[in-house]
Amino acid sequence: MQSTRPVARPLEGIRVANFGWVWAGPVVGQTLAFLGAEVYKVESRARVDMARSLPPFAGGVRDADHSLSQHACWAGNGSVTVNLKDPRGVALAHDLIAECDVVVENFGPGIMDKLGLGYEDLLAHRPDLVMLSMSAAGQFGPLRGLRTYGLSLASITGLDSLTGYLDGPPMPMENAFADPYNGIMSAFAIIVALAHRDRTGKGQHIDYSQQEAVMQMVGPAYMDYVMNGRTGNQLGNRHPLAAAAPHGVFPCAGDDNWISIAVFDDDAWLGLVRAMGDPAWAGAPELATHSARVEHIGELHEKIAAWTAAFDHRELAARLQSDGVAAAPVNSVADLLDDPQLTERGTFIEVSHPLGFEETIYGAYVKTSASEASAPPGPYMGQDNERVFRGLLGMPEERYNDLVAEQVIY
């Protein structure tokens, strides 16, 4: 189909002021932007967001506008720079929020109030505002002021206590899995509140506790605690409810290459045995039934690991799939860029940054059949100042220049 008209997206017309910072907050804005919202990250040179200083940098230019991870993780957000330490900056934020449907923030509880940007303050400027406050443990309760980073947040959910090699100590997920998860889930919370606003005309202040949102993933283990008093432990890559055997990651040929294999029923087991060339050990009576295989999973894994080690991880996955076995290569970061599935789906895209260089970020990671989602790379600081202050807020040129000169728009 030939058409130059942009396809309508579901959240078009929704405007968002995003005070969120580092990773989780910007992902909230990004998610809404992929869905059609107009999103401005509100930030300042008075305290540059630390995510802007994360290496590596585009073209090796080590400054706040060239962090490659920031360009990917903040894609879709615009940027306006407002110095909130100056009362005129706070007034400017109020003017912007009056034109917005949604405000997002992920500072510690109480910080926005101190800035004069608390929910009650903002209602005077936007009576039907939807505001999302995301903090480690929520806006009230004994752990309200808890200090964590996304990296360590899982510790207070029980999730870290389930992660690690079989019966070993807890192993960290070495980056903040919780951040993009919470960023996306927060966007869901906002869309729920927008649906409520559409029906009732009322906005609201969403109390988003990262602890509670992430602990949802612990639900299955929590139910075992509720029902049986068990508290869970490290299982390596074994199935969390012992419903599969094998269920693990096995070595393949080459440096640090692996394959994941899971067998849930007899048909898949017979497929695996066939793929392995019907080895004598696989006919042992203790492997004849599913429950017996689950019971002997340790020995089973050793045998399979001895077999997989000779094969290429991608070729072996394809071969096992042709025998009906759930198997997939364990990708490295390098594998992601030439993974056949991700390549075909256009997961990673090369884009031109407004500052004039090419870089690789992720594109729409969900495919929608009627509305094409896209998001420009993470903004340079103040990229949208003129558009927002001169255009949207109708500020005279002279005043705009004064506020820039006086480091209010800064």
Binding site: A8, P10, F34, L35, P56, S69, A72, C73, A137, L143, L151, S155, I156, D160, S161, L162, G164, Y165, M171, M173, E174, N175, F177, I191, V192, A195, H196, R199, D207, S209, E212, M215, Q216, G219, A221, Y222, M223, D224, T231, N237, A243, G248, W258, S260, F264, V325, A326, A327, A328, N331, V333, D335, L336, Q341, F348, I361, Y362, Y365, K367, A370
Partner: protein, 404 residues
């Protein structure tokens, strides 16, 4: 009917295990009318996965099923036979959303792919969640949570020791991640139908969502530009120290000290030990270069104390250290009780059953579990009879034929 935020939205779930059920649960927790369709005779495989009270298998007592299916009505329907499929399409005609996580080939085989359901209801949003996605060379591969998680590179990059297998989280984290992603994009598509001009298919790959937003976001720009990439270290973020899970007297603590003020606080708490005095250690990168030493010395201090003591005194000094809670410790924490996160539903067989509350708080339109997961086929008469208008005689025939 409920007065939740999503009241008036009807969701049909044709899914099982974790991803589609959790996605539909998110709709139901905030007031949507969710009807879960299970295939007779056994229904959702989660009913057989447990955990079970006392480890006694009982398809109406599975903890996994109970957790993932609150606030749903349940019907049984064999959509693989003509009479069942026809009834399913009638049900879809009354719905806003279909959530499913079946193999794409299975959906095609039974003429339940997007083109087929859109013909029955062009305003329907169809949310499809699979390990790999609806398109691409792996679209028809068998895939489970483990396969999806590790295809994303999350384990290879971030979890496990060098030379040892990359690790998953120990729960169904790829399924959960895909479900949350699907609920977000799917709900937007639902409330945005007026702007988009009708329904559409929302195609979520659990692997792709994590590969993009978690691993790719932090790594792909650098790899594409410089051709170098990192792998798991078994410790943590290597740039700073302490930045690791460290053993203590009764378990483990997450010690994560970055800013100079945080380090000063920790040094003071530890009683100003000699080894921590060098001025250069105020720089997190210098500490990172000496992380083995720093971690060993901090461990000498933590091993003398419990995780609760360490968390309390560190937090009081603005040092972001946290206890690694066991599931039991998280489940019993007064903070979560006070916030109402630990909640209960009434189940006809299990009595009062504890479960987790809504993932976030909406004061104007509260969410969270209200009713327990449905018994198999519990709402067949109510949904097919009263709401879809199937006659009593026809219902009897469908039952006799095993369609319901």
């Amino acid at each position: 009917m409920t007065d939740g935020a999503l009241a008036g939205i009807r969701v049909i779930e044709l899914g099982q295990l974790v991803s589609a059920p959790y996605c539909a649960k998110l709709f139901g927790d905030f007031g949507a009318d969710v009807i879960k369709v299970e295939l007779p005779p056994e229904g959702d495989a989660a009913r057989r996965w447990g955990p079970f009270p006392g480890d006694v298998p009982d398809s109406e007592a599975s903890g996994l099923y109970q957790f993932l299916n609150t606030n749903k009505r349940g019907v049984t329907l064999d959509v693989t036979v003509d009479a069942g499929r026809d009834l399913f399409l009638r049900l879809l005609a009354s719905a806003d959303v279909l959530v499913e996580n079946n193999p794409p080939a299975w959906m095609r085989q039974h003429e339940l792919d997007y083109a087929s359901v859109a013909a029955a209801n062009p305003n329907l949003v169809m949310i499809s969640i699979t390990a790999f996605g609806q398109t691409g060379p792996y679209a028809d591969w068998n895939g489970c949570d483990l396969n999806a998680f590790h295809l994303s590179a999350a384990g290879h990059r971030y979890c496990g020791r060098p030379g040892e297998p990359p690790l998953q989280h120990g729960t169904f984290s790829a399924d959960f991640y895909g479900a949350v992603t699907a609920a977000t994009w799917g709900l937007a598509a639902t409330i945005g139908r007026g702007r988009v001009g009708g329904g559409q298919q929302v195609d979520v790959s659990c692997a792709e969502a994590i590969a993009a937003t978690f691993v790719g976001g932090q790594n792909i720009g650098g790899y594409a530009q410089d051709g170098i990439f990192d792998r798991r270290t078994g410790v943590s973020m290597g740039l700073a120290a302490p930045a690791a899970i460290i053993p203590c007297k009764d378990g483990h603590v997450w010690m994560l000290v970055l800013e100079p003020g945080q380090w000063d606080g920790l040094v003071k708490i530890m009683g100003n030990p000699e080894w921590a005095q060098p001025e250069m250690f105020r720089d997190m990168f210098v500490r990172g270069e000496n992380k083995d030493f720093i971690h060993a010395m901090v461990e000498e201090w933590t091993m003398e104390r419990t995780k609760a003591e360490i968390m309390d005194i560190c937090q009081a000094a603005d040092v972001p250290a946290t206890a690694v809670f066991t599931v039991a410790e998280a489940a019993e924490h007064p903070h979560l009780r006070e916030r109402g996160y630990l909640t209960e539903v009434e189940h006809p067989h299990l009595g009062t059953l504890a479960t987790l509350g809504a993932p976030f708080l909406l004061p104007e339109s509260p969410g969270g579990p209200r009713t327990a997961a449905p018994l198999l086929g519990r709402h067949n008469d109510e949904v097919f009879g009263a709401e879809i208008g199937v006659s009593a005689g026809e219902l009897d025939r469908l039952r006799a034929d095993g369609v319901i």
